[in-house]
């Protein structure tokens, strides 16, 4: 009994020796993989061995085409960029935190062991030994609620690394070139564009279109990331506090048509020179107004089931 209790004490030097060896192996693997260790089942066990003085962040993914994991592909570049940024820190710190990727097809057994059913997932294993030891062996999970961008991930992982990850978002050259060339083209064509810009009706169109899309709920779809249509092909989202992208277009078009018919009746029709044509236009636009308004109310009744009123339809 006593001997058994002492046994771990004897094992410690061996464990350290093994750990040193493992660490060197891991750092050479990381160096060869551009900062990322490509894991399989045995290396995974080494990396997450219960006595480790390093920390590791592991990215579980399924990049193979057959797995059809679109988020995995979307997330992969961010991960590699952060790992690459980590290679630039001094060797001492670099070798106390490892970045690793484990693909489902290379080690399905690990996925089974960890009970993982989805990908991508990022787990961070803290060190169990040494000065940075956290005292817990279980990993912490990264929450993807901030999306797949590298920046928030790097910020989060910096809590677990000895020094912050020196990640900087790459300069988006394409965007800058577009902006600069756009400005240039604008400056060059200013002479021809100026009359258009000085026309009040250009600004009127811009203003009207903006307010129509805004009152159609564009910002809702933008902020909530609603899809253009539902997964079953329907274009009206159920529920009063919800909508799809296509609804913005339909509703803005309806509002636009109604506003247009009012504008026609007020600003155009009175200048008609022929009584018959004027009368016909008045009836035409009044009809449009009534019909489209009825459509709008019907649409609203679909969204708000309890709405008690209806027009023609």
């Amino acid at each position: 009994m006593k001997l058994a209790a002492l046994f771990p004490l004897f094992a410690i030097p061996f464990a350290f020796a093994a750990s040193k060896e493992d660490k060197q192996k891991l750092s050479s693997l990381a160096a060869s993989g551009n900062g990322v260790i490509r894991l399989d089942a045995p290396t995974f066990d080494i990396l997450t061995s219960s006595s480790r003085d390093w920390s590791a962040s592991i990215h579980f993914t399924a990049l193979d085409k057959r797995r059809r994991c679109a988020p995995c592909k979307e997330f992969d570049p961010s991960w590699n960029a952060i790992a690459k940024a980590w290679t630039t820190v001094p060797a001492e710190q670099r070798d106390s935190h490892f970045f690793a990727t484990l693909d489902f097809d290379e080690a399905p057994i690990v996925f089974q062991k960890l009970n993982l059913a989805s990908a991508p997932v990022v787990w961070v294993y803290g060190p169990t030994e040494g000065s940075r030891a956290t005292g817990k062996n279980s990993p912490s999970k990264y929450d993807f609620s901030n999306g797949f961008e590298a920046e928030p991930l790097a910020q989060h992982l910096s809590n677990h690394t000895p020094i912050p990850i020196p990640y900087r978002a790459p300069i988006d050259w394409a965007r800058w070139i577009t902006i600069v060339s756009g400005l240039l083209v604008f400056a060059l064509t200013l002479r021809f564009v100026a009359p258009v810009l000085q026309s009040r009706w250009t600004w009127a169109i811009i203003t009207i279109c903006t307010s129509l899309t805004m009152t159609g709920g564009f910002m809702f779809t933008r902020i909530r990331g609603s899809p253009y249509t539902g997964s079953d092909g329907s274009w009206i989202a159920g529920g009063y506090q919800n909508q799809y992208g296509q609804e913005v277009q339909v509703v803005a078009l309806i509002y636009g048509t109604l506003a247009f018919s009012v504008v026609m009746l007020t600003m155009i029709v009175p200048y008609q020179s022929s009584p018959t044509r004027q009368r016909l236009q008045i009836y035409l636009w009044s009809g449009v107004l009534m019909l489209v308004y009825s459509v709008l109310v019907t649409l609203f009744r679909v969204k708000n089931r309890g709405y008690p009123f209806k027009l023609l339809l």
Partner: protein, 766 residues
């Protein structure tokens, strides 16, 4: 000129003028009456009670002000809020609302009208809505004419978008702020039109009142400078603009700095820098104009142009440097989240968690504004047709407010006035055209000869020629656009055309009134403190659990007891139960809120030391599972977790509260973190007993609760209301024998201790 129906000819001009002004006053009086009356649904259906959450604080503060006077109110330190920190109320509040009610209260009492302060507070919002209608009338009168003004006043009087924040009992800052907003805008337009320093000063005075009343004053602070800037860019600089802007800015800024809560912000924060920048730019432009008027040489003019540009650039550069150096505070989070819509969710979850800060889906726009929402663009087009200085203001307002209203449901309130104004301009132009009984003279014979075929075809085969009409309208648009400048005859022939349009317009207006009444009575008149449901026979059943619980707290707990709850209920507990709270709706201290979030989302063992350290005596949770009341704490729970995670990312992690499949569940498949959290335990404690060991159903989430419910060791149930909506738990004191409460409980229940675990369980609680 002929008229469609014959008109009486023998009426003098003065009679007409007097009659119209009398009718106008009558109409405004009736509109005010309608505006007040439609806001009284809440009082009639329920009772004269303060609504929702924030109003309870305003009411409490007003009571202090009415009872103890203004100086006491100004120096009021509230030790019970944000226990143990306390709150300096006088310095962290917009006092405009309370001061207004205090003045009205004292005024009434001076005339020996003993009105209760609660009734003053409840009826303040409806009263001010009548003033808003009048202010909107004045504003729209400047845009078009008094008839458009009356329409706009009627619209804003009953439109749900404004009623939603101003029913009787909704005693919040917005109640008076919308009146101040519209009146300040009116005074600004009047000052700009006349170049009057008097109106500019008046605008500044009302701006000061607005600053004292509502944090949304930043909207005015930026709208007026943008208007001035656009006018400058359009080349419409004038002495009128200079006088109006400078008098407004100088006096307005100095007076706004007198509000303690605002202090030096007008010269230190980015929200206010636009106004300062435009003020500087106007000085430069004014100086340049002056020099230009005195100097004739072309070179001097070039010189001034160059110096103006370089001075402007220098100013902008200085502004950037000062921001960079930190002398000017950057945009505050609340303001910044309007531009970068993902910002709040990432960095300030507490702002993102508020339901009125969610983006607006289109049905909300239609619900709140109905047919005004499509007359609104038409009105903006008509503003573009005239495009006087004041029309530019409406256009900018429309553009800015429709964006803001799309980003946040709450800002629908700022969009509503401009929609009413613009829709009124559109509808009034339409009615002007078709009510006008004058008929234009018949077209010349030559013109009629030119198009005999088309009109003939139209007359004979109306059905087939619709396409021809449509195509000819396009050419008409261009003709009309040109003809606005030339004096081409304008008017409508025939009575039937007039009747069609007028009937259509009246129909839409009547529908609008029905819509507004329905929305107001069904959606916006619930106090949310008192809930209503219907009995099977259709009669109303009042669910009064909140007040039941608060009254219990007031009567059965010591005066200095501290109650912990989620921040939503802080003001209500302070107002109705008169007990100390840890956090409330004035969400100024994120860490304190996160502490409560952590206590709620941790296990009992972790939460207990937190509760004891904060002297918490009672914990209050809202539970809707029995009744199907969806606004309960389990539905808000994820926000507690998120906010706690923001401060303790290692201890609280959101994914742990979901099932491995990523579902949010409360039944037997719920995750361990969820099941062991204090919130879950307090919500479902003894819930299954209610069903006699049968299938306990949570009616909000439609899930069955496990038969063996959670047990509590560190808390004990103190009170549960009739419908289980509010549940109050008492925090147990430490065991007198020094045992851990879990062990003590197990001992009391006669359970056998497990061997070998005594040592680990027995520890002192700090």
């Amino acid at each position: 000129m002929s008229t469609a129906p014959p008109l009486p000819q023998n009426i003098s001009a003065s009679t007409v003028a007097n009659t119209t002004s009398l009718l106008r006053i009558l109409a405004l009086g009736l509109i005010s009456a309608a505006a007040i009356a439609s806001r009284l649904f809440a009082v009639i259906n329920f009772e004269s009670i303060i609504h929702e959450f924030d109003p309870w604080f305003n009411y409490r503060a007003t009571r202090v002000l009415a009872a103890k006077g203004f100086y006491e109110f100004w120096n009021w330190f509230d030790p019970t809020a944000w226990y143990p920190l306390g709150r300096v109320v006088g310095g962290t509040v917009y006092p405009g609302l309370m001061a207004t009610s205090g003045v009205i209260y004292n005024f009434l009492h001076y005339f020996n009208l003993p009105v209760d302060i609660r009734n003053v507070c409840v009826l303040l919002a409806p009263g001010f809505s009548a003033l808003t209608a009048w202010a909107t009338y004045m504003f729209t009168k400047e845009m078009k004419d008094p008839s458009a003004g009356l329409l706009a006043a009627a619209f804003i009087g009953i439109v749900p978008g404004y009623i939603s924040r101003s029913v009787a009992g909704s005693y919040d800052n917005e109640a008076i702020a919308i009146f101040l907003l519209m009146f300040t805008f009116y005074l600004w337009i009047a000052a700009l039109k006349q170049g009057s320093a008097l109106f500019g000063t008046l605008a500044a005075v009302f701006y000061f009142y607005m600053v004292a009343a509502w944090g949304g004053y930043a909207f005015i602070t930026n709208m007026i400078p943008i208007h001035a800037l656009v006018l400058l860019l359009m080349g419409r600089y004038s002495g009128r603009l200079y006088v109006a802007y400078c008098s407004w800015y100088a006096i307005g800024t100095l007076s706004s700095m007198q509000v303690p809560f605002v202090g030096f912000q007008p010269v230190r924060t980015s929200e206010h820098m636009g106004a300062l920048g435009v003020f500087g730019l106007l000085q430069i432009v004014a100086f340049a104009t002056l020099v230009r008027s005195h100097v004739s040489s072309k070179q001097f003019q070039n010189l001034t142009a160059i110096s103006v540009v370089s001075l402007g650039l220098l100013g902008a550069l200085a502004f950037i440097v000062m921001t960079y150096k930190g002398w000017i505070a950057p945009w505050t989070g609340r303001f910044y989240s309007l531009w970068d819509t993902g910002y709040a969710k990432k960095y300030i979850p507490i702002i993102a968690s508020v339901s009125e800060h969610q983006p607006t889906a289109w049905p909300s726009f239609f619900m709140d504004l109905q047919f005004l929402i499509f007359l609104f663009p038409a009105g903006v087009v008509m503003c573009f047709r005239d495009l006087r200085d004041e029309h530019v203001f409406v256009i900018i307002y429309a553009l800015v407010a429709s964006y803001f209203a799309g980003v946040m449901v709450r800002l629908m309130l700022t969009l509503t006035p401009v929609v009413c104004v613009s829709a009124a301009v559109a509808l009034s132009s339409l009615l002007d055209t078709y009510v006008d009984v004058k008929e234009p003279s018949l077209p010349d014979a030559t013109e009629a000869d030119k198009k005999p075929a088309s009109s003939g075809a139209v007359g004979s085969h109306a059905g087939t020629s619709a396409a021809a009409v449509a195509s000819s309208t396009i050419s008409d648009i261009f003709n009309a656009a040109k003809s606005t400048k030339t004096s081409k005859p304008k008017g409508i022939w025939g009575t039937d055309a007039r009747i069609v349009i007028l009937l259509n317009a009246i129909g839409m207006l009547v529908f609008f009134v029905f819509h507004c009444t329905w929305v107001t009575s069904s959606a916006y008149s619930s106090p949310s403190v008192v809930l209503a449901s219907q009995n099977p026979d259709g009669s109303q059943h009042i669910i009064d659990d909140y007040r039941e619980a608060y009254y219990w707290l007031r009567m059965n707990t010591p005066q200095d007891a501290v109650v912990m709850s989620w921040w939503d209920y802080g003001y209500q507990i302070a107002g109705m139960a008169d007990r100390g709270t840890l956090v409330d709706n004035n969400t100024w201290n994120n860490t304190h809120i996160a502490t409560v979030g952590k206590a709620m989302s941790s296990t009992e063992e972790v939460a207990y030391p937190i509760l004891r350290k904060h002297d918490v005596d009672y914990v209050l949770v809202i539970f809707g599972g029995l009744l199907g009341y969806s606004g309960d704490d389990i539905n808000k729970f994820l926000w507690m977790v998120r906010i706690a995670q923001g401060v303790w990312p290692d201890e609280i992690q959101e994914p742990n509260y979901f099932t491995p499949q990523g579902e949010y569940r409360v039944d037997d498949r719920a995750s361990d973190s969820m099941k062991n959290s204090l919130m879950y335990k307090m919500s479902y404690y003894r819930f299954s007993e209610l069903y006699g060991g049968g299938n306990a159903l949570d009616r909000v989430r439609n899930q069955h609760i496990p038969k063996v419910g959670p047990t509590l060791d560190y808390l004990e149930e103190a009170f549960t209301t009739e419908n289980w909506i509010v549940r109050i738990y008492k925090v147990r004191k430490e065991d007198p024998l020094g045992r851990d409460l879990k062990t003590a409980n197990a001992f009391a229940q006669g359970k056998k201790r497990k061997r070998g675990r005594v040592g680990s369980r027995r520890r002192a609680i700090v």
